[in-house]
Symmetry: C2
Subunit: 150 residues, 2 copies
DNA sequence: TTAAGTGCGTTTAGTTTATGGACTGACTAT
DNA sequence: ATAGTCAGTCCATAAACTAAACGCACTTAA
Protein backbone atom coordinates (compact mmCIF):
# COMPACT_ATOMS: atom_id res chain seq x y z
CA UNK A 1 0.00 0.00 0.00
CA UNK A 2 1.22 3.44 -0.81
CA UNK A 3 1.63 5.52 2.26
CA UNK A 4 -0.02 8.78 1.35
CA UNK A 5 -3.17 6.97 0.26
CA UNK A 6 -4.14 7.35 3.91
CA UNK A 7 -4.72 11.07 3.42
CA UNK A 8 -8.28 10.44 2.39
CA UNK A 9 -8.98 7.58 4.77
CA UNK A 10 -12.23 7.49 6.67
CA UNK A 11 -10.41 7.15 9.99
CA UNK A 12 -9.06 10.34 11.53
CA UNK A 13 -6.13 8.49 13.03
CA UNK A 14 -5.15 7.25 9.61
CA UNK A 15 -5.37 10.79 8.26
CA UNK A 16 -3.21 12.06 11.09
CA UNK A 17 -0.68 9.33 10.48
CA UNK A 18 -0.46 10.15 6.79
CA UNK A 19 1.19 13.36 7.91
CA UNK A 20 2.88 12.44 11.18
CA UNK A 21 3.64 8.80 10.61
CA UNK A 22 7.32 8.58 9.99
CA UNK A 23 10.38 8.27 12.10
CA UNK A 24 11.22 11.95 12.35
CA UNK A 25 8.20 14.17 11.92
CA UNK A 26 6.94 13.99 15.49
CA UNK A 27 10.45 14.50 16.82
CA UNK A 28 10.77 17.64 14.73
CA UNK A 29 7.44 18.85 16.09
CA UNK A 30 8.50 18.10 19.65
CA UNK A 31 11.44 20.42 19.07
CA UNK A 32 9.07 23.03 17.69
CA UNK A 33 7.08 22.91 20.93
CA UNK A 34 10.34 23.39 22.81
CA UNK A 35 11.01 26.53 20.77
CA UNK A 36 13.39 25.27 18.13
CA UNK A 37 12.89 27.16 14.89
CA UNK A 38 15.99 26.85 12.72
CA UNK A 39 17.30 24.27 10.34
CA UNK A 40 20.69 23.95 12.00
CA UNK A 41 19.12 23.64 15.42
CA UNK A 42 16.82 20.82 14.37
CA UNK A 43 19.68 19.05 12.72
CA UNK A 44 22.01 19.40 15.69
CA UNK A 45 19.32 18.36 18.20
CA UNK A 46 18.01 15.37 16.33
CA UNK A 47 21.04 14.20 14.42
CA UNK A 48 19.04 13.28 11.36
CA UNK A 49 20.38 13.74 7.88
CA UNK A 50 19.98 17.15 6.30
CA UNK A 51 18.28 15.63 3.29
CA UNK A 52 15.50 14.14 5.39
CA UNK A 53 15.17 17.26 7.49
CA UNK A 54 14.66 19.34 4.38
CA UNK A 55 12.06 16.91 3.12
CA UNK A 56 10.15 16.72 6.41
CA UNK A 57 10.11 20.46 6.97
CA UNK A 58 8.80 20.95 3.45
CA UNK A 59 6.02 18.45 4.09
CA UNK A 60 5.09 20.10 7.36
CA UNK A 61 4.91 23.48 5.66
CA UNK A 62 2.87 22.02 2.84
CA UNK A 63 0.52 20.43 5.36
CA UNK A 64 0.01 23.78 7.11
CA UNK A 65 1.55 22.66 10.39
CA UNK A 66 4.57 24.94 10.16
CA UNK A 67 5.08 28.23 8.39
CA UNK A 68 8.31 29.74 7.17
CA UNK A 69 8.92 33.18 8.62
CA UNK A 70 11.87 35.08 7.14
CA UNK A 71 14.27 36.38 9.76
CA UNK A 72 16.86 37.88 7.41
CA UNK A 73 17.41 38.80 3.77
CA UNK A 74 20.63 38.37 1.83
CA UNK A 75 20.43 35.43 1.90
CA UNK A 76 16.83 34.95 2.87
CA UNK A 77 16.58 32.63 5.82
CA UNK A 78 13.51 31.22 7.51
CA UNK A 79 12.38 30.26 10.95
CA UNK A 80 9.97 27.35 11.03
CA UNK A 81 7.15 28.09 13.42
CA UNK A 82 4.00 26.26 14.43
CA UNK A 83 0.68 27.36 12.98
CA UNK A 84 -2.60 27.02 14.89
CA UNK A 85 -2.93 23.61 13.26
CA UNK A 86 0.49 22.71 14.58
CA UNK A 87 -0.21 24.04 18.07
CA UNK A 88 -3.34 21.89 18.07
CA UNK A 89 -0.99 18.92 18.35
CA UNK A 90 -0.20 19.99 21.91
CA UNK A 91 -2.53 17.40 23.39
CA UNK A 92 -1.03 14.61 21.33
CA UNK A 93 2.44 15.64 22.45
CA UNK A 94 1.50 15.80 26.10
CA UNK A 95 -0.15 12.39 26.07
CA UNK A 96 2.69 10.87 24.11
CA UNK A 97 5.18 12.25 26.60
CA UNK A 98 3.12 11.03 29.52
CA UNK A 99 3.01 7.55 28.05
CA UNK A 100 6.74 7.57 27.36
CA UNK A 101 7.42 8.75 30.88
CA UNK A 102 5.21 6.29 32.73
CA UNK A 103 5.09 3.26 30.45
CA UNK A 104 8.51 3.03 28.84
CA UNK A 105 11.10 1.78 31.28
CA UNK A 106 14.61 3.14 31.23
CA UNK A 107 15.22 5.57 34.05
CA UNK A 108 17.29 8.57 33.15
CA UNK A 109 17.99 10.63 36.26
CA UNK A 110 16.36 13.73 34.92
CA UNK A 111 13.35 13.85 32.69
CA UNK A 112 11.62 16.63 30.93
CA UNK A 113 8.30 17.55 32.48
CA UNK A 114 5.96 20.47 32.01
CA UNK A 115 4.80 23.04 34.47
CA UNK A 116 1.15 24.06 34.22
CA UNK A 117 1.49 27.81 34.51
CA UNK A 118 -2.09 28.46 35.50
CA UNK A 119 -1.93 26.30 38.63
CA UNK A 120 1.81 26.09 39.18
CA UNK A 121 2.05 22.32 39.41
CA UNK A 122 4.14 19.88 37.41
CA UNK A 123 1.74 18.66 34.79
CA UNK A 124 0.27 15.20 34.80
CA UNK A 125 -2.03 15.26 31.79
CA UNK A 126 -5.07 13.09 31.26
CA UNK A 127 -7.80 12.94 28.65
CA UNK A 128 -11.24 14.19 29.62
CA UNK A 129 -14.64 14.24 27.91
CA UNK A 130 -15.88 17.67 26.82
CA UNK A 131 -19.48 16.66 27.53
CA UNK A 132 -19.15 15.46 31.12
CA UNK A 133 -15.65 16.56 32.16
CA UNK A 134 -14.75 13.12 33.49
CA UNK A 135 -11.52 11.30 32.74
CA UNK A 136 -11.86 9.02 29.73
CA UNK A 137 -10.51 5.49 30.07
CA UNK A 138 -10.28 2.89 27.32
CA UNK A 139 -13.07 0.66 28.58
CA UNK A 140 -15.65 3.49 28.60
CA UNK A 141 -15.24 4.26 24.96
CA UNK A 142 -16.85 2.62 21.93
CA UNK A 143 -16.10 3.39 18.32
CA UNK A 144 -19.09 4.46 16.26
CA UNK A 145 -19.55 5.64 12.72
CA UNK A 146 -20.98 9.10 12.90
CA UNK A 147 -22.35 11.59 10.43
CA UNK A 148 -22.11 15.00 12.00
CA UNK A 149 -21.29 14.88 15.68
CA UNK A 150 -24.18 15.35 18.18
CA UNK B 1 21.72 8.57 13.94
CA UNK B 2 20.63 5.05 14.69
CA UNK B 3 16.98 4.93 15.46
CA UNK B 4 16.78 2.77 18.52
CA UNK B 5 19.35 4.92 20.30
CA UNK B 6 16.34 6.96 21.33
CA UNK B 7 15.28 4.23 23.74
CA UNK B 8 17.42 5.68 26.47
CA UNK B 9 16.84 9.33 25.62
CA UNK B 10 16.16 11.82 28.36
CA UNK B 11 12.97 12.97 26.69
CA UNK B 12 9.88 10.83 27.20
CA UNK B 13 8.57 11.71 23.76
CA UNK B 14 11.78 10.42 22.22
CA UNK B 15 11.45 7.21 24.20
CA UNK B 16 7.88 6.81 23.07
CA UNK B 17 8.87 7.39 19.48
CA UNK B 18 11.63 4.79 19.65
CA UNK B 19 8.80 2.28 19.91
CA UNK B 20 5.94 3.93 18.04
CA UNK B 21 7.83 5.97 15.51
CA UNK B 22 7.39 4.23 12.24
CA UNK B 23 4.84 4.26 9.51
CA UNK B 24 2.78 1.30 10.68
CA UNK B 25 3.04 0.74 14.41
CA UNK B 26 0.41 3.26 15.45
CA UNK B 27 -1.93 2.03 12.74
CA UNK B 28 -1.58 -1.51 14.05
CA UNK B 29 -2.34 -0.26 17.54
CA UNK B 30 -5.36 1.66 16.32
CA UNK B 31 -6.69 -1.62 15.00
CA UNK B 32 -5.98 -3.24 18.35
CA UNK B 33 -8.14 -0.62 20.04
CA UNK B 34 -10.87 -1.44 17.54
CA UNK B 35 -10.65 -5.09 18.54
CA UNK B 36 -8.51 -6.56 15.80
CA UNK B 37 -6.38 -9.42 17.13
CA UNK B 38 -5.23 -11.66 14.29
CA UNK B 39 -2.46 -11.50 11.78
CA UNK B 40 -4.68 -11.91 8.76
CA UNK B 41 -7.06 -9.25 10.00
CA UNK B 42 -4.30 -6.68 10.49
CA UNK B 43 -2.92 -7.48 7.10
CA UNK B 44 -6.26 -7.24 5.35
CA UNK B 45 -7.23 -4.00 7.15
CA UNK B 46 -3.98 -2.17 6.71
CA UNK B 47 -2.64 -3.58 3.47
CA UNK B 48 0.94 -3.59 4.66
CA UNK B 49 3.35 -6.31 3.66
CA UNK B 50 3.35 -9.47 5.74
CA UNK B 51 7.06 -9.14 6.38
CA UNK B 52 6.67 -5.78 8.02
CA UNK B 53 3.60 -6.84 9.94
CA UNK B 54 5.49 -9.77 11.41
CA UNK B 55 8.34 -7.49 12.39
CA UNK B 56 6.12 -4.83 13.96
CA UNK B 57 4.05 -7.30 15.94
CA UNK B 58 7.23 -8.91 17.26
CA UNK B 59 8.52 -5.51 18.35
CA UNK B 60 5.26 -4.65 20.06
CA UNK B 61 5.32 -7.94 21.93
CA UNK B 62 8.94 -7.42 22.88
CA UNK B 63 8.11 -3.93 24.11
CA UNK B 64 5.31 -5.29 26.31
CA UNK B 65 2.54 -3.45 24.46
CA UNK B 66 0.92 -6.56 23.05
CA UNK B 67 0.89 -10.14 24.29
CA UNK B 68 0.39 -13.28 22.29
CA UNK B 69 -2.48 -15.36 23.57
CA UNK B 70 -2.82 -18.82 22.02
CA UNK B 71 -6.29 -19.52 20.68
CA UNK B 72 -5.58 -22.96 19.20
CA UNK B 73 -2.94 -25.72 19.15
CA UNK B 74 -1.90 -27.82 16.14
CA UNK B 75 -0.70 -25.52 14.79
CA UNK B 76 -0.42 -23.06 17.65
CA UNK B 77 -1.91 -19.71 16.69
CA UNK B 78 -1.97 -16.49 18.62
CA UNK B 79 -4.21 -13.52 19.15
CA UNK B 80 -2.36 -10.28 19.68
CA UNK B 81 -3.96 -8.36 22.52
CA UNK B 82 -3.16 -5.11 24.28
CA UNK B 83 -1.48 -5.22 27.67
CA UNK B 84 -2.03 -2.56 30.34
CA UNK B 85 0.92 -0.72 28.83
CA UNK B 86 -0.78 -0.89 25.47
CA UNK B 87 -4.13 0.25 26.81
CA UNK B 88 -2.33 3.19 28.37
CA UNK B 89 -1.95 4.51 24.84
CA UNK B 90 -5.67 5.21 24.76
CA UNK B 91 -5.17 8.91 25.48
CA UNK B 92 -2.64 9.26 22.70
CA UNK B 93 -5.00 7.56 20.27
CA UNK B 94 -7.94 9.74 21.25
CA UNK B 95 -5.97 12.96 20.89
CA UNK B 96 -4.43 11.84 17.64
CA UNK B 97 -7.86 11.02 16.28
CA UNK B 98 -9.24 14.33 17.46
CA UNK B 99 -6.45 16.19 15.73
CA UNK B 100 -6.93 14.20 12.54
CA UNK B 101 -10.64 14.87 12.64
CA UNK B 102 -10.52 18.59 13.29
CA UNK B 103 -7.23 19.70 11.78
CA UNK B 104 -6.71 17.55 8.70
CA UNK B 105 -8.96 18.61 5.88
CA UNK B 106 -10.55 16.07 3.59
CA UNK B 107 -14.15 15.45 4.52
CA UNK B 108 -15.29 11.89 4.18
CA UNK B 109 -19.04 11.67 4.70
CA UNK B 110 -18.78 9.33 7.61
CA UNK B 111 -16.10 9.40 10.24
CA UNK B 112 -15.28 7.21 13.11
CA UNK B 113 -16.06 8.77 16.46
CA UNK B 114 -16.28 7.41 19.96
CA UNK B 115 -19.16 7.26 22.33
CA UNK B 116 -18.36 7.97 25.96
CA UNK B 117 -20.34 5.19 27.62
CA UNK B 118 -20.47 6.78 31.04
CA UNK B 119 -22.25 9.93 29.85
CA UNK B 120 -23.68 8.72 26.54
CA UNK B 121 -22.32 11.56 24.39
CA UNK B 122 -20.14 11.41 21.31
CA UNK B 123 -16.70 12.00 22.70
CA UNK B 124 -14.79 15.22 22.15
CA UNK B 125 -11.60 14.60 24.09
CA UNK B 126 -9.35 17.25 25.56
CA UNK B 127 -6.28 17.20 27.78
CA UNK B 128 -6.67 18.27 31.40
CA UNK B 129 -4.27 18.82 34.29
CA UNK B 130 -4.47 16.26 37.10
CA UNK B 131 -3.63 18.92 39.68
CA UNK B 132 -6.29 21.50 38.84
CA UNK B 133 -8.63 19.72 36.44
CA UNK B 134 -8.54 22.57 33.92
CA UNK B 135 -8.02 22.13 30.20
CA UNK B 136 -4.36 22.41 29.26
CA UNK B 137 -3.49 24.60 26.30
CA UNK B 138 -0.07 25.00 24.70
CA UNK B 139 0.58 28.51 25.98
CA UNK B 140 0.06 27.56 29.64
CA UNK B 141 2.74 24.92 29.60
CA UNK B 142 6.50 25.27 30.10
CA UNK B 143 9.06 22.51 29.76
CA UNK B 144 11.20 21.95 32.85
CA UNK B 145 13.84 19.43 33.78
CA UNK B 146 12.56 17.60 36.80
CA UNK B 147 13.95 15.06 39.22
CA UNK B 148 11.04 13.38 40.90
CA UNK B 149 7.72 14.98 40.11
CA UNK B 150 5.85 17.29 42.55
C1' DT C 1 -8.41 -39.88 -0.18
C1' DT C 2 -7.72 -36.26 -2.76
C1' DA C 3 -8.54 -31.38 -3.06
C1' DA C 4 -9.30 -27.01 -1.35
C1' DG C 5 -9.12 -23.76 2.36
C1' DT C 6 -7.18 -21.30 6.54
C1' DG C 7 -3.80 -18.91 9.24
C1' DC C 8 0.77 -17.46 9.86
C1' DG C 9 4.58 -16.98 8.48
C1' DT C 10 9.36 -17.04 5.29
C1' DT C 11 11.86 -16.27 0.97
C1' DT C 12 13.12 -13.78 -2.91
C1' DA C 13 13.96 -10.08 -5.88
C1' DG C 14 13.19 -5.57 -6.99
C1' DT C 15 12.03 -0.77 -5.55
C1' DT C 16 12.01 2.99 -2.52
C1' DT C 17 13.97 5.65 1.33
C1' DA C 18 17.39 6.92 4.43
C1' DT C 19 22.07 7.91 5.59
C1' DG C 20 26.46 10.48 6.19
C1' DG C 21 29.67 13.25 4.22
C1' DA C 22 31.28 16.49 1.05
C1' DC C 23 30.06 20.45 -1.29
C1' DT C 24 27.82 25.17 -2.70
C1' DG C 25 26.33 29.79 -2.04
C1' DA C 26 25.53 33.94 0.18
C1' DC C 27 26.56 36.14 3.31
C1' DT C 28 29.05 38.22 8.37
C1' DA C 29 32.82 38.93 11.60
C1' DT C 30 37.78 39.35 12.49
C1' DA D 1 41.90 37.70 3.25
C1' DT D 2 40.34 34.10 6.24
C1' DA D 3 37.32 31.85 8.83
C1' DG D 4 32.75 31.06 10.32
C1' DT D 5 27.57 30.62 9.88
C1' DC D 6 23.41 28.96 7.98
C1' DA D 7 20.53 26.52 4.79
C1' DG D 8 20.50 23.68 1.63
C1' DT D 9 21.95 20.12 -2.46
C1' DC D 10 24.40 16.07 -4.38
C1' DC D 11 25.96 11.59 -4.33
C1' DA D 12 27.16 6.82 -3.31
C1' DT D 13 26.09 3.45 -0.13
C1' DA D 14 23.12 1.12 3.12
C1' DA D 15 18.83 -0.06 5.02
C1' DA D 16 13.93 -0.56 4.79
C1' DC D 17 9.91 -1.75 2.38
C1' DT D 18 7.09 -4.08 -1.12
C1' DA D 19 4.46 -7.68 -3.73
C1' DA D 20 4.05 -12.07 -4.88
C1' DA D 21 5.10 -16.74 -4.40
C1' DC D 22 5.92 -20.47 -1.43
C1' DG D 23 5.88 -23.63 2.99
C1' DC D 24 3.79 -25.76 6.81
C1' DA D 25 0.45 -27.68 9.80
C1' DC D 26 -3.45 -28.34 10.09
C1' DT D 27 -9.25 -28.55 8.98
C1' DT D 28 -13.23 -29.10 6.12
C1' DA D 29 -15.74 -30.57 1.99
C1' DA D 30 -16.24 -33.57 -1.98
Amino acid sequence: MRWRDLETADCPIARAMSILGDRWTLMILRDCFFGVQRFEAFQANLGLSRTILRDRLAHLVEAGILVQRPYQDRPVRYDYVLTAKGRALNGVMLMLGEWGRTAVEGQPETQIRHRHQTCGHILTPYVACAACGEEVVAKDVRAVRAIGSV
